[in-house]
Amino acid sequence: MRNFWLIAKHEYLKIVRQKSFLVGTLWVPAMIIVVMGVSILASLGQRGKLPLGYVDYTGLLSDAVPLTVGADGKASVTMRAFPDEDAALAALEVGEIQAYYVLPEDYITSGRAQLFYLNQRPGSVTRDDFNSFLRANLLAGYPDDVQQRLLEGSAITFRSSDGSQELESRNVFSFIIPFAAAFFFVFAVMNSGSYMLQAITDEKENRTIEVMATSVRPEELIGGKALGLMSVGLTQLGIWILTGVLALFVALFFMTEVQTIRIPWTLLAVVALFFLPAYALIAGIMTAVGGIVSDLRQGQQITGILNLFFMLPFFLLTLIMAKPNSPFIVALTLFPTTAFVTITMRWAMTTVPLWQLAVSWVLLVASAGTSVWLAARIFRIGMLHYGQTLRVKTIIARLRAERL
């Protein structure tokens, strides 16, 4: 057992000290920081701007109520009325206002208005604020609570009959999070899997297998490598999640949509339950491939095809969105390699029945166990086949002959 931990530590440190790991890990936080920075700057840039003008030919805004709460909860601009377009244009040209709207006489029936600006069109927040200003004044005659309801709209919560799932119509994140979880999970697992393949082929290419085989059991060697590399994947995932959480925390101060995020704890529990067996499955497959092939390049060609079995649900996104409970998608839910991604993607669309989760998990655990068991034996058969690719026929014959 001591050697198991030593190998795990060795593999972990070997990978995390590589420049490629740092680059591969830090690009996500870097991207998040850039996106957040741009979003925040854009958000800040839309505040404190020049007033927004309007020319009202309908008479609706003759006694206008000023805008107090804009589309994002804060009033980004003040509104300034002009008697005619010439006056508004003159103000625009001398830089007193950033743009002006013209509401024609038939606005009530046509719903058409015009926006005039010089070089830069006002941002979406400013435009949304004008819409709020307009709606608020159109509803001026109604009681306050009715006004508020009509302005805010409805917040519909979709809830499954067993109460296991909830989806809020206003909360776009409840839709995005399952997809993000699927993407990052697959990315982390595939990354760890490719490290596993490299770790196994390294032993063959470096001719260290014989020394290792006389120092540790094959199970310790493979298990230690798998644990070390899974820790690499978790470290990577942890850094990404931490960065994401920090980014959201910062965004709380600038973007009101972020405040509506609800953490999908049930989904996270499912992710946690499926992570280990899914990783064990891919580690087993990668070890077996590493045991069979002669070098890393050949292994990567094979795993490139095998990876498709894990990525398949991404290619069937439209089908999953349209018919999340169709027999084919249910089959993908139960099939070990596609189970995790299908479940997380269906999570955003429908209620995944408990029996499907249970059967899927059992099948995944069983296939993961089989893959690890088989991988250890294939590794043992293939470990001394330097520079040779094992044939399936040879593997079966040796498995039978050696009763491994």
């Binding site: 001591r2 390294d202 001719r207 014989e210 020394v211 006389t214 059991r217 001394l384």
Partner: protein
Amino acid sequence: MTTVQVSHVSKAFGEVKAVQDVSFEVFPGEVFGLLGPNGAGKTTTIRMMLDIFRPDRGEIAIFDGKLTEEKKNRIGYMPEERGLYKDLKLEPTLLFLATLKGIDEATARARLDPWLERFDLVDFRQQKVQNLSKGMQQKAQIIATLLHEPELLVVDEPFAGLDPVNTRLVKDIIEELRQQGKTIIMSAHEMYQVEALCNRILLIDHGRNVLYGEVSKIKRDFAGNALAIVGQGDFATLFDSARLPAVLPGVLEARQHNSAWHLTLDVGVDPQDVLRALMRQEGVRLERFEIAEPSLEDIFVTVVQRAGHEEAAYA
């Protein structure tokens, strides 16, 4: 009590019978040679001993029993296929391999310095293994084999890839280990490299036991089966392998070494008969004719060729 006991082991890979009914014992504190030409089955035998391969038949006992994980820590193995992690630095690699053999890192570190100094690798300890020369990697491999101070050392072709200076160094180390009471099993196809070091040997050919026992006794038994000849004449033509049986009956092989020719005789052949046959040859002038102590290689040739003749006669 035996350190290693191999009893009637056989191993086949498909149609190829790599090892057939091989048996031998190795006792504590001795240097044992597992000798034979390339492809004789030495490495397969070693791999079975160390549980890398499982024998199809036969039994193997290490330290009087089955090879356990604890016993693996008492063994140092340098395989014929040398290998270290090429993209790692030398020192961490050696420390990692040593800790896998049951010693803690501090002990490994303390033992490492003298070895690095002895092998002239101190300045390269923080170099990546791939940046070291082949000879340096070979020396590093030897350190990796010895750092945990094993009781049983198994070295497959220990001198392959070493220059004469380092060959001498490794021989000295083996001698020191013998004096410390360690058990050493050496495999080699160049028998002259190891015959002076070994107490006992097993000669193996085509996967079978050919000759087994104490080196000194074997040499005594085969004394008179080797001749050293110096003279003038076209010995190369005379000793051509195609002509040799007709020209010098009973001479199995002739090899030139510097200015002398070494002849290996079949068992029972009288050197005087060979001398008479030589004297009959035209254009040959002998300056020296002596009965030499046979090398293990001479003995191997004698035994293998005799076995071949017997098989042919039997067929």
